[in-house]
Amino acid sequence: MSAAEDVVTEAPAVEAVPKRAMTLGTGTSLLVLAALLIMPVFVKNFIIFQMTMLLIYGLAVLALNILTGGSGQFSLGQSAFYAVGAYTTAVLMEHFNVNYALTLPIAGVVCFAFGFLFGQPALRLSGVYLALATFALATAMPQLLKLNFLEHWTGGVQGLVVTKPDAPFGLPMSQDMWLYYFTLVVVIAIYIFSVNLLRSRSGRAFMAIRDNEIAASAMGVDVALYKTLAFGVSAAVTGVAGSLGAIAVQFVAPDSYTITLAISLFLGMVVGGVGWLPGSIVGAAFIIFVPNLAEGISKGLSGAVFGVLLFLVIYLVPHGARQVAILGQQFAGKLRKN
């Protein structure tokens, strides 16, 4: 069960997930989509803001899910890609007056390149060693952002304030609601892209590498290329999430993107279910709302309460939200038979 055993027996670190089991059924998907679409009409701006953050963190967890659930590589360095995306957007918007929507693809491309390049040396590492290398990246990033010669652009420790966009075409919407729908569209587009990616030839190659690297290369999969590609795609999606995050929070600073963020995202992936893409949203909800819940229970011991809750989740449903979903499905099936 432990990670050490996994390494010793050389078993795949990530349990094989059949590609069909990676997504939701059409009916459920439409239901969730409808709920996400009409929800903002009924709630306060603050809740809309929280929902926007939920989508954004969901996107970042999804990116990690593509990497870990898809290609079986670990990363504790997602916060670094998130930071690069956020800073790309902030710098472009504030210093070059680029439209916020245009900064997203730019951030995506920059992060893809960054992730792809980082993937090159990371290729030689696997399992816990890769996790450590990415960990180093996450720890280094806040300090790199404070560097003197970058300070003119990044604002150093003080960070950069980002202007929040108004709804276009004079739509009668608050900034928060507009940003929510904007984020929703981007997230759905990336979700559909990710699902299709994993169902495509490349996706099968990712999964083949995840399940057995040697067998995959014997089948003619270019292991090196696909591993770095997975890193690149994951970094690009994380970068877009970072951009959206910068616009929603209206502020970027090195202290926003510490190792804590990387660990939160990792946690979100595990709680949502490794390799189950819809679980990303559930995982994001866990990392956003459970700390608030823990704080409500005890201010001084919020960390301990959070730990206990996390322990309960891992103990009761080790496969996260995916397990809950499967249990729910079986239960519904039984009801139908009766």
Binding site: F46, G156, V249, P291, K299
Partner: protein, 411 residues
Amino acid sequence: MLLGRTLRTAALVTATAVITFTSGAAFAQKKYDTGASDTEIKIGNIMPYSGPASAYGIIGKTEEAYFKMINDKGGINGRKISFVTYDDGYSPPKAVEQVRKLVESDEILAVFNPLGTPSNSAIQKYLNAKKIPQLFVATGATKWNDPKNFPWTIGWQPSYQSEAQIYAKWLLKEKPDAKIAILYQNDDFGKDYLKGTKDGLGAKASSMIIMEESYEVSEPSIDGHIVKIKAANPDVLLIYATPKFAAQTIKKTAELSWKPLQILTNVSISVGSVMKPAGFEASQGVLSAAYAKDSTDPQWANDPGMKRWNEFVDKYMAGADKSDTSMVYGYGAASTLAKVLEMSGDDLTRVNLMKQAASLKDFAPDTLLPGVKINTNATDFAPISQLQMQRFKGEKWELFGEIISGDVASE
């Protein structure tokens, strides 16, 4: 005692009434914004109760306890304070989320004493756009004194730059031919001090400062820097370093048997965590400046202000470590807010709250040094800008000289 306070309040209310009378506002009328009512005033706060800066969380707890004490005594002008405080983990995105929760969900009247430069930078624009007071922020950056661009944000403690100016003024007066070396931390904290020193020295800065040496927070030891500075042979060493590095600096200069005049930032004056580890013998004669009383210093044993502070801690924070400077800080900040709410009377609108926060006259909380007073006006949003020089002697700090003022406006 109680009569005295009532009289003082009455005098204040009358004074304020006279001022506002000319502008046509009737004082008898009760006016409220969201978060205030006949029975309650809702104040919001964010603090790093978890994460890298969680040591400061005690400030929030002190403030919570202080308002509990106020409520037990009947509240302010008959209204109870409801203090809502959330954890932001010293993370700017979390700070934004929690402040939006305070404003939009808890519907507070004002945000009070949020801690940390990054967190405050993150929420400043939002609060100013919403016209919600961001009162007495807990950071020493200079940028909070900017009423023109951010009329809803006001600082509290002396800024790093004003403190550095005070050292510069003192040097100009006492040691005008000094050869100064500056050791500073390479971030906004250290750079603020550097700028304040240069501004304070003015035209003489270039001739007096013979060396500027910076270090990174990530460095394990700064011994190398000290050796390098010594080689330049300055006779004054300004130490703008956080506690760990400050202790190393004092220790290393003594090891090199080098005795320049050392001036130490107020951030690192803790006897327990800086002077003692550096060695009391090595620390003799080090200079610094202070604005608040040290709770461990026996000279305040009979001070009425510190007696009240001690009673408060014994009753409302039983078991807390009294040597923690954060409790002195939280008490001072909370009493400033209480004062502003008292001055606001029955006009508990956000506009009036900001106006009152910017019209504090010679207010002296229990925990500030005698003579240090809080003054604000429409163009001065830096409440505390006075400090007094102190010298380390024996095992404690000894105050000397007059209270020096160092107002710095944000550009």
